[in-house]
């Protein structure tokens, strides 16, 4: 058990190092592309906590992603960069509170109804923003500039350069991964995994499962919010589509494609989707057809997602 764990740690460290070197070796275009992958990676990981660990297949997760993005916009000064140290925690808090409020109702349902209720809340959030002139309506709103880290009025770190921003996003991804990994291995993590497999049994053991599901939902919402904040400043633009069901669906596709219940699979799924989109759209203007065929093929032939490929190959070899 121990050596495998160390091997995994080494692989993680190597992956992190490789990702940290991207701005040094790659063209700005790829830096932006990778920023997108990592931001969506955080988003997908946050959904994986719900889908893969707690068994809550949300189809409205983008609501929290978008809520934090809009919080970032509202909190940003009109014509000066915002202070990351203040606005990031505040935006994440907004997402977490929204998740807590909607989750309190949503986690009372299960299965398909849960999917549908989260979809409904997602759509409500979408239309609330879409129909609000104060938030920019369907046109969305531009952000003045990327945030800075400021102490006592003096900016000490500026994320305007895409390379620097990329490193911020990478640090957030690493931090999120570390925290979420700790969470799923904690007593709390064990409980939510038990709930996913058999909620009734967990109740019979004495767990008030509702509270754990709700806590998980709120934590997932918070990390979705972190991703949303980063997405808003990556595009320097917010728009209701950030909260739309297509965005939620895409995150779900990333999680399932990567492999549920693994966390790192979610990041792989995000990388796969972003890169495939990029690759297919260079091939043909009908890239959506290729992406669709890819998704259909992978769900039929890769039931455990990308992270399942290794086990699948191992089995094929030993056969």
């Amino acid at each position: 058990m121990k050596p495998r764990l160390d091997g995994r740690r080494a692989a993680l460290a190597a992956a992190l190092l490789a990702l940290a070197l991207v701005p040094a070796v790659a063209d700005e275009f790829y830096v932006v592309l990778f920023t997108k992958i990592l931001v969506l990676g955080i988003f997908a990981m946050s959904l994986d906590l719900l889908v893969g660990y707690t068994g809550l297949p949300s189809l409205g997760h983008a609501a929290y992603f978008g809520a934090a993005a809009y919080a970032a916009m509202v909190l940003a000064p009109e014509s000066a960069p915002a202070n990351l140290l203040l606005t990031l925690p505040a935006s994440v808090l907004v997402a977490a509170l929204l998740a807590l409020a909607t989750g309190a109702l949503a986690v009372r349902t299960a299965g398909m109804y849960f999917i549908m209720v989260t979809l409904a809340f997602g759509q409500m959030a979408y239309f609330a923003v879409h129909d609000s002139p104060y938030l920019g309506g369907s046109d969305g709103k531009l952000l003045f500039a990327r945030p800075v880290v400021a102490f006592g009025g003096a900016a000490i770190l500026d994320f305007a350069e895409p390379q620097v921003y990329y490193l911020l996003v990478l640090a957030c991804l690493a931090g999120s991964y570390g925290i979420l990994r700790a969470v799923v291995q904690s007593p709390f993590g064990r409980v939510i995994q038990g709930i996913r497999v058999n909620e009734a049994r967990m109740q019979a053991l004495g767990y008030a499962t509702y509270r754990y599901k709700l806590a998980s939902f709120a934590i997932g919402g918070a990390f979705a919010g972190l991703a949303g904040y980063l997405a808003a400043y990556q595009a320097e633009y917010v728009n209701p589509k950030l909260l739309g069901w297509q965005e939620s669906g895409l995150a779900l596709v990333m999680v399932i494609l990567g492999g549920v219940g693994t966390l790192h699979g979610a990041v792989l799924g995000s990388a796969a989707i972003v890169l495939l989109q990029e690759f297919f759209s260079e091939l043909t203007s009908h890239w959506m057809l290729l992406l669709g065929l890819f998704i259909v093929g992978s769900v039929i032939w890769l039931p455990h997602g990308i992270v399942g490929i290794r086990a699948w190959a191992r089995r094929a070899r030993t056969r």
Partner: protein, 290 residues
């Protein structure tokens, strides 16, 4: 506003509700009997609308296009079920979501390749093209009345079929308990294929007859899909009666909501759905969850 406003608005709501019912009834049966969340259900509506457009141009009449388009859409559904869905019945809901999301992309892109991105409109058949003048300023299109009548007929036929045929009995059994279907000696493969095709056929039919009142445009499938989801959840998964009541409720709420409270038109139906689920988590006519 005078009484005619409310009468016409009610007609509008009922007509929209009927269309929603056709889409939602297929969705709810596929949900209920097969346990499949079919995000691509809206694609069959879209397919119907585009086929109506294309065939009506070639045959010169919407009515002669109907049977061909219905046959085609059902055949596509049959193939999709045979080649893809069948392998995934025993998998998680998540895999169904992923699979059908993939199908949405495929169908939408095929639509783009075949028919492009243009907005099209399908003329109503000449017989039904007129409007009935009601007051000095307003009139009601004959075709919309026609839609309501046809849908009423289909809904009635569906109800009779479900109640009194062997196929209908298998469907009812399947909604209550999937294992029971096998115990009754029904070939589930055949039943599932039939239900899937029926659902797709209903959606395609709705798309076809809706084509003259809706502009035919890319993305029309998803527009109807999401609202149909709301209908199904309000009515209760697997319940045709629920789908009907839900569709009428949403249709009327939409018609009056848009006219009387336009600022809440977008959020309204979702708020209604969320509120209802808090009161009855299984929908109006749904079976209580274990």
């Amino acid at each position: 506003m005078d009484i005619s406003f409310y009468v016409i608005q009610a007609l509008n709501g009922i007509q929209y509700g009927f269309l929603l019912f056709l889409v939602a009834s297929g969705l709810t049966l596929v949900f209920g009997v097969m346990g499949i969340i079919n995000l691509a259900h809206g694609s069959f509506f879209m397919m119907g609308a585009y086929l109506a457009l294309w065939l009506a141009r070639h045959t010169g009449s919407l009515f002669s296009a109907l049977p061909i388009a219905l046959l085609f859409a059902t055949a596509v559904a049959f193939l999709a079920e045979r080649l893809a869905f069948r392998h995934l019945y025993r998998r998680r809901h998540l895999d169904h979501v992923l699979l059908t999301y993939g199908f949405i992309l495929i169908f939408n892109e095929l639509q783009r390749i075949l028919w492009g991105n243009d907005v099209h409109s399908v003329p109503a058949p000449d017989l039904l093209a007129g409007s009935i003048p009601l007051t000095a300023t307003q009139s009601y299109p004959v075709y919309r009345i026609f839609i309501s009548i046809v849908c009423l007929g289909v809904a009635f036929g569906l109800a009779v079929a479900i109640r009194s045929t062997r196929f209908g009995m298998a469907i009812r059994a399947g909604v209550v308990n999937r294992e029971m279907v096998e115990a009754l000696g029904i070939d589930t493969n055949k039943l599932f294929a039939a239900v899937f095709c029926l659902g797709a056929g209903l959606a395609a039919f709705a798309g076809m007859i809706a084509a003259p009142v809706e502009a035919v445009y890319p993305g029309i499938g998803e527009t109807f899909l999401i609202v149909s989801f709301v209908v199904v959840v309000i009515g209760g998964i697997g319940s045709l009666r629920g789908a009907f009541v839900g569709a009428m409720a949403i249709g009327l709420a939409d018609a009056f909501g848009k006219a009387l409270m336009p600022q809440f038109a977008g959020i309204g139906i979702y708020a209604v759905m969320a509120a209802l689920l808090l009161w009855r988590p299984q929908g109006l006519f749904g079976e209580k969850q274990a």
